[in-house]
Amino acid sequence: MKTARKINPLNWAYLGWVWLVILFVLMPLATTVWTAFFSNKILSLPPEGYTAAWFLQAWNLADFRNGFFLSLQVAAGAAALALVVGVPAALAIARNKFRGAELINTILMSPLMIPAIVSGSAIYLFYIEVQIWSEVPLAATFHGLTLAHSLIAIPWVLRLLVASLSGMNPSIEEASLSLGASRTTTFFRITLPLIRPGITAGALFGFIGSFGDLEKSLLLVGPGRITLPIAMVNYLQYRTDPTIMAVATIQILIVAAALIISDRYVRLGRTF
């Protein structure tokens, strides 16, 4: 049977548009990684040559090294805190068993509505007040910073987990109960394994969000401490060599690795 193949100009236009969008999205990533290897002393096109020296340079600068480790620790802590708060909250909200469910959901998601620099300043002021009142140091401390960063991670955990839970058949937990399992056992043996993709995705995106945050950290990090985004901004004030691109490339690689590794264990594709 002969099938007529019409060259539809609309099809080509659509395809062209799709590719344009994809390129637009990928371009910052591609440019960053590409220019990280330029040997030009000042970031510019065309490349004079290629070198990996900037990576070494980045590692030798204390600011970048310390910033990297602090950002890592804070992001991990923020993700962990977000899980502690977000998992029970998501369970309660998704089951909708109580009257305040919608309200709690909105409150926990509210950090998304506030510009980061505004919330950063507000948190700083709040910390100062608490410090005055309770003598417990909060501003310019590691735990204060992590606490503030958890506000970034919580909406991620909550949103992804509630979505994951809504897709789950509630009869499954009832089946576990009817077979004699306690609520705790049901949670650990049935619910948890089934929401693992949602938890992992939520923690991951919370981690990424915290790692990349600049505004909250600026106000809360305190003297002597530095996060990676702050280190990068500082560096850019005086130098414009590819070192900055090298640092960014490292960051991209870490996030990519985290995504790939979690995907092997958790099949993130199923969460969305």
């Binding site: 058949n169 009869s171 499954i172 009832e174 089946a175 576990s176 109960l177 009817s178 077979l179 004699g180 399992a181 306690s182 609520r183 056992t185 049935i190 394994p193 089934l194």
Partner: protein, 377 residues
């Protein structure tokens, strides 16, 4: 041993009563079906027996034990859910073993009992598979095995066949019944499909709007319905309004029918389509002319095992008549003038009430055709 007794169970939600005054005594080994339309309270009742819903009033006993205040996980019930509710991250064997693990049964015994019950449902070869690799019918059997292996007090089935296609439904329900009988398990089965309920149950409980309409064996409910609701919900019934006059029932369009039932204040008469005899005037036998009605066939529906006729009588009323295709004569075609016989012993008599009024508004057996009804007949 595995008696289940519900005593005056009431379930109220703010403002509405889901189940009212439900009392039921289920004998050991009995198969009881809760049947009714959506929202009648049958699933609520089942879930109260299971322990997922707390009764507002009343008590539930399993044998001598009062389980009313026991949480679901302490009642030792075996429940099969509508969507099977298998644990997707566990294999078939692990699913079935779960209940035994919760009861701290030693591992070798678990393995043995799981193997036995999987053989019982003919899924022995699938022990290592995951639910997503099984067909609907197979998942259903796993759900059943999972509920049976724990030797529950009572087996609770919440519309277990509704997720299956028609052919499978028939086969699986026979398997369920055979298993239940061979194991002697007390069983409560919820369904809205009256054919399922009739074919499976020892006793049927027909529910409507939270109340029990009638309890009885399938033949009791079919041949001797206690209310218009039951007569209409189970099988089909032709209804006519009217009143008793001189020992006969006179419909509001002038048909007088002899009846054997004794309901002095009856205002509603009902007769099932398959009980009405239909024949052409040429076939009429002189001897049998009690309750003879003349009519014209308006529509013939061939159903396979039987044929359904829509017959217009008294000009603007119609009745449904059903005949098995063993006897039907090809002379019965659309437009044919026929004679109907309404045997007196098969006429149901009811007092109509609010419920039956509501019923008759949506069903129009025996009522004027829609065009005439619109004119206010």
């Amino acid at each position: 041993m595995s008696r289940v007794v519900l005593n005056n169970i009431v379930k109220r939600y703010d403002g509405s009563v889901a189940v009212s005054e439900m009392s039921l005594d289920i004998r050991d080994g009995e198969f009881v079906a809760l049947l009714g339309p959506s929202g009648c309270g049958k699933t609520t009742t089942l879930r109260m027996i299971a322990g997922f819903i707390e009764a507002t009033e009343g008590s539930i006993h399993f044998g001598d034990k009062d389980v009313t205040n026991l949480p679901a996980n302490k009642r030792n019930t075996g429940m099969v859910f509508q969507g099977f509710a298998l644990f997707p991250h566990m294999t078939v064997a692990q699913n079935v073993a779960y209940g035994l693990e919760m009861r701290r049964v030693p591992k070798p015994e678990i393995a043995e009992r799981v193997a036995k019950v999987l053989d019982l449902v003919q899924l022995g070869a699938f022990a290592g598979r995951f639910p997503r690799q099984l067909s609907g019918g197979q998942q259903q059997r796993v759900a059943l095995a999972r509920a049976l292996v724990i030797k529950p007090h009572v087996l609770l089935l919440d519309e277990p066949l509704s997720a299956l296609d028609a052919k499978l439904r028939h086969d699986v329900r026979i398997q369920i019944r055979q298993l239940q009988q061979s194991l002697g398990l007390t069983t409560v089965f919820v369904t809205h499909d009256q054919e399922e309920a009739l074919s499976l149950a020892d006793r049927l409980v027909v529910m409507n709007a939270g109340r029990i309409e009638q309890i009885g064996s399938p033949s009791d409910l079919y041949e001797r319905p206690a209310s218009p609701f039951v007569a209409d919900f189970i099988g089909k019934t032709n209804f006519f309004k009217g009143e008793m006059r001189d020992g006969e029932f006179r419909t509001n369009f002038g048909l007088s029918l002899k009846v054997t039932a004794r309901v002095p204040a009856a205002t509603l008469i009902g007769i099932r389509p398959e009980k009405i005899q239909i024949r052409t005037p040429q076939q009429a036998r002189a001897a049998d002319s009690t309750n003879l009605v003349e009519g014209v066939i308006e529509l013939v529906s061939y159903l396979g095992p039987s044929t359904e006729f829509r017959v217009r009588i008294f000009g603007d009323r119609y009745v449904l008549v059903q005949q098995p295709n063993r006897d039907v004569s090809s002379a019965l075609a659309t437009g044919q003038a026929v004679e109907l016989v309404f045997p007196p012993e098969w006429c149901f008599l009811f007092k109509s009430d609010a419920a039956s009024e509501a019923l008759l508004k949506t069903e129009n057996f025996g009522l004027p055709a829609p065009e005439a009804a619109a004119a206010g007949a």
